[in-house]
């Protein structure tokens, strides 16, 4: 649990949690610290994406991806064919730059890959980097922190660092929620629970096995749990189709009371009939998502069921899902209510639909109404204003690289799951129980980076719950 400048990253990623959690990166590189990588250019539409690495294995990473040629001349751009070091598959023709430390942004050895901006290329390069030994995805603000630690930033420059970390932590949390929503999230939580329980039982066997009468077969039980977990992780990692659909872009949810015209708005914005519209309240019963291009930004637009006490079980479930989907959205477009349904600090655009029904001669609206936009889905009046407002909102959301590009999130995900699986492998081959427990601790550290948690106290709680130990 619980660790300062050097360990901020781990904590930032997991949000506030217990201190002194062991965070062992299974593939720790020799020398001074792990090598990190990240997509450094912003989200949104771009021709070129920049991926950066920093740390002692940067040179190795550069060589691994550009075939075993010499490192390019320091600080000058060269064109290289990037290939996946494992499969040998070509990834992209890209400009690469090599900045040997200490004359680099972070003060460490750094490499930059300027690749074509398509999601497939970026994701391919990130995954390839994740497979280079000693490399791991960067945590929130980690490049900046390294730069600071090596005296590359002045104190004034670092003033913004805390805010940045805060923002990135928040964004990552939301990103993680998004990623962990649904099937994959449940899987991940389940894995973490199993692993913590197995670890607790092994720890109990170590700390109390000799003196107390632990039930027979505590260790065997942990063994079989770990075996099952390893199989599950392996299957998951092998079968790419089971990975959750990548949700690219900002998440925009349309929500509000029934029959306000949410579905009409979604159809208007996506220029195709995504949702069925009818004059009847409660037509939409599930969350309907559609990827759209909103004012030049990629976005995932969600239509939701109207927020009311549902009439039947299906609609009630729809309303529940609607509320839930607001937990991890970036922007809420709401045609009628002034507050985000969850009261969270999301960006909120209040849109009043059916302006065509207002009496001519100006609307007679309550002066207490917060800033809002008037729209008529029927006539299209006010659409330009809404698009302009959305553009501003999305620029704010997407212009901030910290929003956690889903591609990187996915690379992180795979990296830690693979590392977790590797650690489970060394559990099975450990020559003694102390080493076996260490492997489980490392494995748990990797899962904790994905879903949080991971304290020692949690383990002790399970021990004292499951066993009657002590003299």
């Amino acid at each position: 649990m619980w660790r300062g400048l050097w360990t901020l990253a781990a904590r930032a990623a997991r949000g506030p949690c217990r201190p002194c959690v062991r965070q062992s990166s299974g593939a720790g590189a020799p020398g001074s610290g792990a090598t990190i990588f990240a997509l450094s250019s912003g989200q949104g539409r771009c021709g070129i994406a920049v991926i950066r690495t920093s740390g002692p294995a940067s040179g190795h990473a550069l060589r691994s991806l550009t075939a075993p040629r010499e490192l390019p001349r320091a600080r000058s751009a060269s064109l290289r064919l990037l290939t996946d070091p494992r499969s040998g598959e070509p990834l992209d023709r890209a400009l690469v730059l090599w900045f040997p430390g200490p004359h680099s942004f972070t003060g460490e050895d750094c490499a930059e890959f300027h690749v074509h901006g398509g999601p497939a290329v970026v994701s391919g390069v990130l995954q390839a980097l994740g497979r280079v030994p000693g490399l791991r995805p960067a945590e929130a603000g980690e490049f900046t922190r390294r730069a600071f630690a090596h005296g590359k930033l002045s104190l004034t420059e670092v003033e913004g660092l805390a805010d940045l970390i805060h923002a990135e932590t928040e964004a990552q949390r939301r990103q993680a929620l998004r990623q962990l929503d649904g099937e994959l999230g449940q899987l991940c939580r389940g894995w973490a629970e199993t692993l913590t329980k197995a670890l607790a039982h092994v720890e109990a066997y170590i700390d109390f096995g000799e003196d107390d009468n632990l039930e027979e077969g505590v260790l065997e039980q942990a063994d079989s749990q770990v075996r099952e977990l390893a199989v599950a992780l392996d299957t998951h990692l092998r079968d790419a189709r089971r990975g959750q659909r990548l949700r690219s872009g900002a998440h925009v949810v349309v929500t509000g009371p029934p029959n306000a015209g949410k579905s009409s708005l979604v159809n208007l914005l996506s220029r195709k009939p995504v949702s069925i519209v009818s004059p009847e309240p409660g037509t939409t019963r599930d969350v309907l998502e559609t990827p759209v291009d909103l004012a030049g930004f990629p976005a995932l637009l969600s239509d939701t069921a109207g927020l009311r006490e549902g009439q039947g079980p299906v609609e009630q479930e729809g309303v529940r899902r609607a509320r839930e989907s607001c937990d991890f959205l970036d922007t809420v477009v709401t045609p009628a209510i002034a507050r985000s349904p969850n009261g969270n600090g999301q960006r909120l655009l209040l849109v009043l639909n059916k302006s065509d029904l207002l009496p001519p001669g100006g609307p007679d609206l309550s002066p207490e109404l917060p800033p809002h936009l008037l729209l008529s889905c029927l006539t299209g009046a006010g659409l330009d204003g809404l698009l302009e407002a959305l553009r501003k909102e999305l620029a704010a959301v997407c212009g901030n690289p910290s929003t956690g590009p889903p591609l990187l999130t996915r690379a992180r995900h795979q990296h830690h799951l693979q590392a977790c699986l590797d650690a489970l492998g060394s559990y099975r081959h450990a020559p003694d129980v102390a080493l076996a427990a260490e492997a489980l601790r490392v494995a748990r550290g990797h899962l904790a980076r994905l879903h949080g948690g991971g304290g020692t106290e949690e383990v002790l709680d399970i021990i004292f719950r499951d066993f009657c130990v002590g003299k």
Binding site: M1, W2, R3, G4, L5, W6, T7, L8, R11, A12, P16, R18, P19, C20, V21, R22, Q23, S24, G26, G28, P30, G33, A34, A140, R145, L155, V158, E159, L161, A162, D163, I165, H166, T169, E203, Y205, I206, D207, F208, G209, E210, D211, D212, N213, P431, D432, V433, A434, L435, A437, E438, R441, T456, V459, L460, F464, C468, V469, G470, K471
Partner: protein, 719 residues
């Protein structure tokens, strides 16, 4: 750490020794005290496991020390179980020993059944443990204490503290300068260590009866508890218990499972090759179990058991038989029958801690197998006592509120002899260093279980009696019982090698004082121990590099050591160190295969064993090193001790974080990061603040230091 202001002046003073006399020592010489009033460097209150270690450590460090105890004949009393060590606890004992503490050596002279627990679970979690003869332990401890140079022992109960004006260069609202005894007499001291155990408002509970006592037959300390509360210390309440004692000759051992000791016995202390008693002369332990009838008696009589009903927190891992029955009904619970001494006619039924009325205890005992005719000599009882929230002390165990006042042992909310002893050593060393105006001696959680213990207490506090487990240590594979000497005996040396550019007050003063201190642990380690540890360390290093240098192909190894299941992998050549990693290979076997370079390492059993252990963990430790370094870097970033977090304007912190920092007063960025609720963003802000001070300090150090006056002027300009 010293405050910014204080340190600046101190640096100047040490650099300009010729011109400015060093700060006057406040004490030591009886000449400076009022005539007739005794005066000591360090006064230790309490003669239990924390108190004896503290007093001996302070005296070893060269301080004139007084140990004040209610009764000299209870010094070294083991008031609960007749055993020392165990899993996690054995680790603590090895570390206490590495700092030349007493309990491990005394146990090697007083044990009657030595057994290493977890033998098959890996050397990192071996638990050295022994049944101890209570009488012998007490005798040997008293002999040691009464013969320690510079250490005086006096009987007396402390009622109050003498308080004076605080030293301006330290935090704290006042300074302790002595103690007042019950009879009104005073003892002056430069540092005071309180090791009150369960005596602060101690209450003994049997059935529905409660009466004030620190231990059965001893008076509690009430005046002292009131003094501490008045000073503003946050006080909590905990409970613990002890089982009844049974007459040995009334037990039918013949029908019970017998447990025999190890042969050979493994000593606790690094300086002992063997223990005082031969394995064949040692006594066995016996195992029996509770049964449904025991559950019945307990459940029928809960209304007669006030200790169980109380809301005071008891330990989860050392529960009374009542809480075991309540929490895990319908099970058989283990009862270990342990001898209390070589010629003692008492048996200690471990696992049977109980607070029922005495006659019901006897009834319960007699329904257990083997105890059908058992005679209860002394009933089990519960103890409830005050403890002080340990977040009120620094990692050197000095209190934040009162300068030069140290707390060690159960008073800090821990349980167990070993936990108490570990804190005692640290408090003793630091009280002595404080008197000599030396920087504190702090063990990091990357260096030892002592560090884990104290860091957990000072950053998280505790709401149940805190006990050590190996699962609490993140770096369990590095913090092993076998290498405690390499980790701690040379600590003075390694503190010099800390990257000084990371320390806040980029510390000429610190470096100077380390040099002055010498390498042997603030003087608390004897020459003999130091030499042995040095020999072992260099032999290990030499041995490991030798093992790394011997390389053969796997087929050659297979021929040399057919017993080993060496895999014929793709690796061309294998180092001897890697061969030693195989479970079935030990150094003996390896030396038979390659006698030339390796024979000499088999001469010393301990060395051969330790080389094998180093080989076992080599790969994992390599990965752990980086993490350890990261933590140590954070811990080298010190926070000024006198920060007022509640009003500090230069740092942007939330009110919640301010309050948490204010209460725990972390001394390093590392410690701050472990306080729950302190966010990464808050840490970065703190870090920036620290760096700003560091720059100022550096700027100040660069200016010519011509003497005190200049320094003072500088300080005025900067503050």
């Amino acid at each position: 750490m010293f405050s910014l202001r204080g340190c600046g002046r101190w640096v100047a003073a040490s650099l300009a020794k010729q011109h400015v006399p060093p700060p006057a020592r406040l004490s030591g010489d009886s000449a400076s005290a009022a005539p007739g009033t005794p005066r000591y460097d360090v006064v230790v209150v309490g003669g239990g496991h924390a108190g004896t270690e503290a007093a001996a450590a302070a005296a070893r460090c060269g301080s004139r020390t007084l140990l004040l105890t209610h009764r000299v004949d209870t010094i070294g009393q083991m008031s609960c179980n007749p055993s020392f060590g165990g899993i996690g606890k054995g680790h603590l004992m090895r570390e206490v020993d590495a700092l030349d503490g007493l309990c491990s050596r005394i146990c090697d002279q007083s044990g009657i059944h030595y057994k290493v627990l977890n033998r098959r679970k890996g050397p990192a979690v071996w638990g050295l443990r022994a049944q101890i003869d209570r009488k012998l332990y007490k005798q040997n401890m008293q002999k040691e204490i009464l013969n320690t140079p510079l250490l005086t022992v006096q009987e007396g109960a402390v009622e109050d503290l003498i308080l004076t004006e605080p030293e301006p260069e330290h935090t704290g609202k006042c300074r302790v300068s002595g103690v007042v005894l019950v009879d009104g007499s005073k003892v002056y001291a430069d540092s005071v260590i309180l090791t009150a155990g369960t005596f602060l408002r101690g209450m003994i509970v049997i059935g529905l009866e409660m009466h004030p006592a620190g231990r059965l037959g001893d008076q509690p300390s009430i005046g002292l508890a009131q003094t501490l509360e008045k000073l503003g210390f946050v006080v909590g309440r905990l409970k613990t218990g002890t089982p009844p004692r049974i007459a040995k000759d009334s037990i039918n051992f013949s029908i019970l499972n017998k447990q025999t000791p190890d042969n050979p016995s493994i000593p606790f202390s690094f300086i002992n090759e063997t223990v005082w008693i031969k394995p064949e002369d040692q006594l066995p332990c016996y195992l029996t179990h509770t049964n449904p009838r025991v559950d019945e008696i307990i459940l029928e009589n809960l209304h007669l058991n006030s200790h169980i009903k109380e809301t005071t927190k008891g330990p989860r891992y050392c529960p009374s038989i009542e809480s075991k029955v309540l929490r895990f009904p319908n099970r058989l619970h283990q009862v270990w029958l342990e001898p209390e001494g070589i010629d003692s006619d008492l048996i200690y039924p471990q696992g049977l801690s109980v607070t029922l009325p005495a006659e019901l205890q006897e009834k319960m005992i007699t329904c257990i197998r083997g105890l059908e005719k058992a005679k209860m000599i002394q009933p089990g009882y519960g103890v409830q006592y005050d403890y002080l929230d340990p977040r009120q002390i620094t990692p050197s165990l000095e209190t934040h509120l009162v300068q030069r006042l140290f707390f060690a042992g159960q008073i800090n909310g821990t349980t167990g002899y070993e936990e108490a002893a570990a804190q005692g050593v640290i408090a003793g060393i630091n009280a002595s260093l404080r008197v000599r105006r030396k920087p504190p001696f702090v063990v990091s959680r990357t260096e030892g279980y002592i560090g884990v213990l104290i860091d957990d207490l000072t950053t998280h506090g505790t709401n149940e009696p805190y006990r050590m487990f190996t699962s609490r240590a993140e770096f369990r594979l590095s913090l092993r019982p076998d290498n405690a000497d390499s980790r701690l005996t040379f600590r003075g040396n390694s503190s010099l090698s800390l990257p000084t550019r990371f320390t806040l007050l980029s510390d000429l003063s610190h470096v100077l004082s380390c040099l002055l201190l010498g390498c042997k642990e603030a003087g608390c380690v004897s020459q003999q121990r130091y030499e042995r540890a040095s020999w072992m360390k260099s032999s290990l290093e030499e041995g490991i590099s030798m093992l790394k240098s011997i390389e053969f192909s796997s087929s050659k190894w297979k021929k040399l050591i057919p017993e080993a299941s060496i895999s014929m992998g793709k690796v061309v050549s294998i180092r001897a160190l890697d061969v030693l990693k195989y479970e079935e290979v030990d150094l003996e076997l390896l030396a038979k295969a390659v006698p030339g370079p390796l024979k000499k390492y088999t001469q010393c059993r301990e060395l051969a064993e330790r080389l094998k252990i180093e080989a076992t963990y080599e790969t994992v430790l390599f990965h752990q090193q980086q993490e350890i370094k990261d933590i140590q870097r954070d811990e080298a970033l010190q926070l000024p001790k006198d920060l007022d977090y509640l009003t500090l304007r230069d740092v942007s912190l939330s009110q919640e974080v301010r309050e948490k920092l204010h209460f725990s007063r972390p001394q390093t960025i590392g410690a701050a990061s472990r306080i729950p609720g302190v966010t990464p963003a808050a840490l970065v802000n703190l870090l920036r603040f620290v760096k700003t001070i560091q720059q100022r300090q550096a700027a100040m150090n660069e200016l010519p230091k011509t003497g005190q006056c200049d320094t003072d002027r500088l300080e005025k300009r900067q503050l």
